[in-house]
Structure formats: structure tokens, C-alpha cells
């Protein structure tokens, strides 16, 4: 509360610093700033003194030096002779990968559980409530450990697939579930396969185009085309057709047990699976609550009004309930995504090579550059969170309900 009158030409008194609203806020801010500077100075000088005493210095030159260690999952070229910086990039990409995968599956788990919690089937409702409560109330770290233990202890080792009478067999001869990971067939791109891929991409576009067309037709002429089966057909048929016309250019490479491990195919390492699954199922429980709250936030009156207008249940969901529920669901959903990204730093528990494990783990240890590594680590996570919350603000502003 500040009040200004015509500049009274009264002389400046020291007490005005405290009692005059014009100066008081400046005084306060100067004090706050002073305290802040003092705190930084205190911490900074301690840091300098301690570093001097320990004979350390702050330098980022280690980033260019060879890392010297190997990483088990690298999506970009990396060998033990690559630099620590490259190792950090490997970690960043692994972090983003597991976060991305977990966001998708957590959403799926969460939506299913959230919707089922509102089911009018008592058993299903209760089952989902148990799922949500159990997973929400036990630390994610314990879940990661439990699921990793299931992965490593309860699934067979690759050598169980070996020998005359193997104790385990591959599923459909194409999928192998081992305690080192899951092996699935990988596509082999033959000549002409690009055409198939292009067709596939086009048919996805086609599905959307068809749906738009159907809506437009409805709006223009009132004719309602069926959408579900045609969409499915557009999605699959052209690709399959082209696939055979081109002479099956895309083959599958099946994983097979060679030497110590399965070779060929796509390998999804146990650490990735454990972390991915644990994060998804844990966060899924939270998302389920958000989804339930979102749907319940749309009052019964809304669906009743829609029903009274003659809309069918599916349409009520699509046209009335979901658009409103999504506004409520999406902001907390995005903060759950943020949580997933942050919790993915628990990767070190299962030996998954995310940024915390490479830059903040092995590099930190092998070089001893603790301050530098931790600082870089924090900057990385900050950038991610600020980006996501920036996006969220934009979304929130764009969907705000118009009020009087």
C-alpha cells in the first residue's frame, strides 16, 4: 500500500526509510538483496577457501577427455574412447527415451485405471482402488527395486534356452524374455521398403483426412458416415496391399541365441524395462486419480443435459464430457510427466545409463569432478522442467474457460 501526494517538499529524514511507503519498499529490497549477496558471498568464499585448501579447482576440461568406460545402451555412437561429453549425451538421450516411453505407458495405465475406477462394476472398481492405493503409497524406489528383482531373479537367464532340453523356450520363436532383457524381431529393410513405409505414413494421414471429411460432410449435408471400420481399413489395407505388391520387401530378423546372448532382433535391456515399467505403473496410479477427478469434475448435469438432447452415450463422452474433463486432467498430467522425468534419475538403482548414471555417476567418480558434474546435471533437469512448465502455461492459457 503506497500513497503518493504531491511531492511535499519536506526534507528527507532517516526515519523515512522505514516509515515512508515510498522508501520503505526500497529499503526492504535493499536489505533483501544485501542478505542475498551476503549469503552468496559467505557460501562462495567458503567454497573458494575449501577448494584452495583441498587443492582443487573448477574446470570443465574433463568433458573433452576420453571417458574410458563402456555403456550398455547407446543410441548414438559411443565407445570407451569417446569423450565424457559424448557419454553425457548418451545419458541425456537415454533419460529422454525412458521418460518418453514411461509417459506413454503411464498415461495408458492411468487412463484405464482411472476410467475403470468409475466403472459400475464393483469388483473392477475395487481392484483398481487397490492398485491405486498400493502403488501410490509405497515409494517408487522400492517399486523399481522390486520390479528389477523380478526381472533379474524370476526370468530365465539366456543359458536356460540352451542345450538339448532347454528349460525355457522362445515365445513364438520370435520373442525371448530373459533376465537381461527382452528380445523381439527387428525389421529388415529390403529394397522398396521405403514405398511401404511411405504408404503407411500416407494412410495415417488418410485416416485423419477421412475423419475430417466425415465431420465436414455431416456439417454440410447432415450425412453421417461410419468412421470406425473405414478408419481401420484405411490404416491397414493400403500398407498390406503395397507390402505384397512390392514383394514383401520388409523382412524380420529374429533374435537367436548365439554365444552368450541372444543376437539379432531388437534388444530391450532389463534395466530399461524395469525402470520403464516401474515408473509407468507407479505414475499410472497417480494419473488414474487425476483422470478420475477430471471426469468427476464434469458434473452429472452435463451428461444428463446431453442425454436429454438425445445424444448417445459415446457421443456424450466425445462431445461433452471429454473436452471438459481434459481441461482438468491435462495440467496435473503434465506435472506427472515432469515427475516421471525427474524420477527417471533413479536409473542408477538398476544400472540404466541415464544422465544421472553417466555424467552424475561414472564420470563424476572417475574424474572426481563433483561440483562440475552436479552443476551440469542440475542445469539439464532445470532446462527440461522449465521447458515443460512453459508449455503447460501456454496450454492452460489457451484452454481457460471464458468467464464473465
Amino acid at each position: 500500500m503506497t500513497t503518493l501526494t504531491d511531492p511535499d517538499k519536506e526534507s528527507f529524514r532517516l526515519s523515512m526509510l522505514l516509515y515512508d511507503t515510498r522508501y520503505r519498499s526500497i529499503t526492504m529490497q535493499v536489505i533483501a538483496l544485501g542478505l542475498l549477496v551476503a549469503a552468496f558471498w559467505f557460501l562462495g568464499s567458503n567454497l573458494a577457501a575449501n577448494l584452495r585448501a583441498a587443492g582443487l579447482n573448477i574446470s570443465y576440461s574433463f568433458l573433452g577427455a576420453p571417458a574410458g568406460y563402456d555403456i550398455n545402451q547407446t543410441l548414438i555412437p559411443y565407445t570407451s574412447r569417446s569423450s565424457n561429453l559424448q557419454a553425457a549425451w548418451v545419458g541425456i538421450i537415454n533419460t529422454l527415451l525412458v521418460a518418453f516411453l514411461a509417459c506413454i505407458t503411464a498415461t495408458i495405465f492411468g487412463v484405464i485405471a482411472g476410467v475403470l475406477r468409475l466403472s459400475n462394476n464393483w469388483l473392477v472398481r475395487k481392484l483398481m482402488a487397490v492398485y491405486v492405493e498400493i502403488f501410490r503409497n509405497i515409494p517408487v524406489l522400492i517399486w523399481i527395486l522390486i520390479i528389477y528383482t523380478i526381472m533379474t531373479v524370476s526370468t530365465p537367464a539366456p543359458n536356460a534356452f540352451r542345450g538339448e532340453t532347454p528349460t525355457s523356450t522362445m515365445f513364438l520363436d520370435a520373442f525371448a524374455f530373459t533376465n537381461r532383457g527382452v528380445y523381439i524381431p527387428a525389421p529388415v529393410w529390403g529394397p522398396g521398403s521405403m514405398v511401404v513405409v511411405a504408404t503407411f505414413v500416407l494412410s495415417i494421414i488418410g485416416v485423419f483426412a477421412y475423419r475430417r471429411y466425415a465431420t465436414k460432410l455431416l456439417f454440410d449435408t447432415g450425412r453421417l458416415l461410419p468412421t470406425f471400420w473405414p478408419s481401420v481399413a484405411i490404416f491397414f489395407l493400403p500398407s498390406i496391399l503395397v507390402f505384397f505388391v512390392m514383394g514383401s520387401p520388409i523382412g524380420l530378423e529374429y533374435p537367436a541365441l548365439k554365444g552368450f546372448n541372444f543376437q539379432g532382433g531388437i534388444q530391450i535391456g532389463a534395466p530399461l524395462i524395469a525402470l520403464w515399467f516401474a515408473l509407468s505403473i507407479y505414475t499410472g496410479a497417480f494419473i488414474a486419480e487425476n483422470v478420475r477427478a477430471g471426469i468427476q469434475a464434469v458434473s452429472r448435469g452435463q451428461s444428463e443435459a446431453a442425454a436429454a438432447l438425445g445424444l448417445r452415450p459415446g457421443r456424450i463422452m466425445n462431445l461433452v464430457v471429454l473436452p471438459q474433463a481434459l481441461r482438468v486432467i491435462i495440467p496435473p498430467l503434465i506435472s506427472q510427466y515432469l515427475n516421471i522425468t525427474k524420477n527417471s534419475s533413479l536409473a542408477i538403482l538398476v544400472g540404466y545409463a541415464d544422465i544421472t548414471a553417466t555424467l552424475g555417476g561414472i564420470t563424476l567418480n572417475q574424474t572426481g569432478r563433483a561440483i562440475e558434474c552436479v552443476t551440469l546435471l542440475m542445469i539439464f533437469y532445470l532446462i527440461i522442467s522449465l521447458t515443460i512448465s512453459f508449455g503447460m502455461n501456454i496450454y492452460n492459457n489457451s484452454t481457460k474457460l471464458k468467464e464473465r
Binding site: 585448501a53 583441498a54 587443492g55 582443487l56 574410458g68 568406460y69 563402456d70 555403456i71 550398455n72 565407445t79 570407451s80 574412447r81 533379474t152 531373479v153 530365465p156 537367464a157 539366456p158 543359458n159 536356460a160 533376465n179 537381461r180 548365439k258 554365444g259 552368450f260 546372448n261 543376437q263 532389463a270 542408477i348 544400472g351 545409463a353 548414471a357 555417476g361 561414472i362 563424476l364 567418480n365 572417475q366 574424474t367 572426481g368 563433483a370
Partner: protein, 316 residues
């Protein structure tokens, strides 16, 4: 200075592994025992006159150096390899070597592997933040074969993964492998491969910059080694002190000269250190020697007089 801190505290904070049978592990009563533990106890006995005045702080490959650098521990006795960069860049002082070791591989017999060079494509469990991890990368690279590392934090985890078959082979210092294998239900099902792919001089270390403290620890370790060479054991030490004719023994036992004073301790410091858990040979035999389940031979760790590398500088 560290010595004053330790005295004021009345306890020595000693960093050890989180658990490696024979080297450092709590027994059923929660008391720490082992080859590395003995070094800590000897130092505590020398400095504080009480071999039990030690606080054992378990550290992993990752946390050990921060613990030491931040002053949380006074001494790290955790099968840590003496390397150039640790000594210089990380600003630590290795005060000697208590075990000359090298990195090896352990595999299940059933795997049918007889050489590390056959491990192409294998999955390897390795503790992160260790020299082991770096040696491993170098070894496979040098031999132009591939592998998949499974990074783990503690020996216990490594053991769990290895036994569950999540990795084909476990690699760490050969002594560590032997110790780990000794705890298996059926140690006979596992073998160590013949290759030793690195030099791993393991020794205690302290922070750089406090040379007085470094001297105390260094000479305590030397006293243990020298005692074996001179035939002083925890059993005969009283008698030796009284009857010795060897001036070096007399100097060590504090009956002649004032070595203790030179490092800021009393005259009997080394006597107490030796009495704590015995001399080097006794410690070795009791914890990891051939009589124990771990069953390590002295090998390189024999006295120089027996053709080994142990060679304590003179007490003079």
C-alpha cells in the same frame, strides 16, 4: 589437523567396503572384521590406544572418495587401487600397499569358458566408479572383442546379478573374486579365469595435505609389515619387547629412541598397533589366508625375504 580431530573425537572414522567377506564385513554380532578392517584397528590402537575406537563407515566404489574428501572419514581402507590420478588429481595420498592384486574374471564352470579372450559378446557385471570398470573397457578394446557392461554399485549386488545369471561373468580384483566366491553355496561351480588383466596395488589412503596424519598411517602399516619380517607377533610381543637384542625391534617397541614422538604419538604406538590384530602375516592368515574359506595364497604379498613384494622401510 586430522590427528587432533581424531583424538578429540576419541574415535577413528574409517571407510571400508559395504561388505566383502574377509576384507571388511560385519559379523553376526555386527562387529566389523577383515583384512582392511585390521588396518583401521591398528591405526586406532596406535593413535587412541584402543583398537575398538573405530567407527566403520561403509562406502561404495562411488561414494568412497567423497566421503574421504569431505572429511567424513579420516582414512579409507577399502581395497582401493593406487593410481596416478587418484593420487594427484583427486588430491589423496596413498600411504602404502597392503595387498598387491590384479583384476580377474569369475565365470560359472558350466559356461565352459577357459579364457577371458573367449568372452566375446558376454555380459559383464562390474562395479561402477572403479578402476575395474576402466580396465575392463581397455582389455576388451585391446583384444577387439565386445561385451555388455552391467554396472552395479556394491559387491553384494554384483553377486546377486551374477548368481541370477543376469551376467555371464563378474569381474573385480582377484582377491575380491575369491572372497565373493567363498560365500557361494557351491564355490566349486565357479572358476576364476587365468588372465589377470591389470595391476591393482590396493592400499589405504588419506587426504592430501595433512602429511603428519599420512605419516602416522603409513608407518603403522609399515610397522605391521616390519613386525612380520622381524618375527614379532601378537603372541610374543611382550617377550620380544623385554628381551630383544635387535635394536630395530627395540626402536619399534619404543624401548629405544623416540620414534613415537617424531610422529606425535607416544613410545608404545607401534606395539599397540601390532597387538591389535597381529602382524601383517597374522592378519593375512586370519582373514584371507589359505586356512580360511577365502584361501588366498601369499603370492606377491609375501615378504621380500620370501620373494614377495612386501618391503617395509627401516625403522630408524
Amino acid at each position: 589437523a586430522t590427528l587432533d580431530d581424531v583424538k578429540a573425537r576419541g574415535k577413528l572414522n574409517c571407510g571400508v567396503t559395504t561388505g566383502l567377506a574377509g576384507f571388511a564385513a560385519p559379523n553376526a554380532n555386527g562387529e566389523w572384521e577383515g583384512f582392511d578392517v585390521a588396518v583401521c584397528r591398528a591405526v586406532a590402537a596406535a593413535v587412541l590406544s584402543d583398537k575398538n575406537a573405530v567407527e566403520f563407515i561403509p562406502t561404495t566404489g562411488k561414494t568412497r572418495f567423497t566421503a574421504l574428501a569431505s572429511g567424513e572419514i579420516d582414512l579409507l581402507a577399502r581395497n582401493t587401487t593406487w593410481t596416478f590420478s587418484r593420487d594427484t588429481d583427486l588430491k589423496f595420498d596413498f600411504i602404502g600397499v597392503n595387498y598387491y592384486d590384479g583384476q580377474g574374471f569369475m565365470v560359472p564352470k558350466a559356461l565352459g569358458v577357459s579364457s577371458a579372450k573367449d568372452l566375446d559378446g558376454a555380459t559383464v557385471c562390474v562395479q561402477t566408479g572403479t578402476t575395474t570398470e576402466l580396465n575392463l573397457a581397455d582389455f576388451f578394446r585391446a583384444n577387439n572383442i565386445s561385451y555388455e557392461p552391467v554396472p552395479i554399485e556394491t559387491n553384494a549386488e554384483g553377486q546377486q546379478q551374477y548368481l541370477a545369471g543376469a551376467c555371464d561373468t563378474y569381474t573385480t580384483d582377484a582377491s575380491g573374486l575369491a572372497a565373493t566366491r567363498a560365500t557361494f553355496e557351491t564355490p566349486g561351480d565357479h572358476i576364476l579365469l587365468p588372465e589377470i588383466i591389470s595391476k591393482e596395488p590396493l592400499g589405504p589412503l588419506v587426504r592430501h595435505g595433512d602429511n603428519d596424519w599420512g605419516d602416522i598411517v603409513r608407518w603403522t602399516l609399515n610397522a605391521l609389515v616390519a613386525a612380520e619380517e622381524l618375527g614379532i607377533t601378537s603372541a610374543n610381543i611382550e617377550e620380544m619387547t623385554a628381551n630383544t637384542t635387535n635394536p630395530e625391534v627395540a626402536r619399534m617397541m619404543g624401548t629405544e629412541g623416540d620414534l613415537g614422538k617424531m610422529i606425535g604419538l607416544d613410545a608404545e604406538w607401534s606395539k599397540r598397533a601390532i597387538m591389535a590384530e597381529g602382524n601383517y602375516g597374522e592378519i593375512f592368515a586370519k582373514n584371507i589366508g589359505e586356512e580360511t574359506p577365502i584361501g588366498l595364497a601369499r603370492g606377491l604379498n609375501a615378504q621380500w625375504t620370501d620373494g614377495g613384494l612386501l618391503y617395509a622401510p627401516p625403522f630408524r
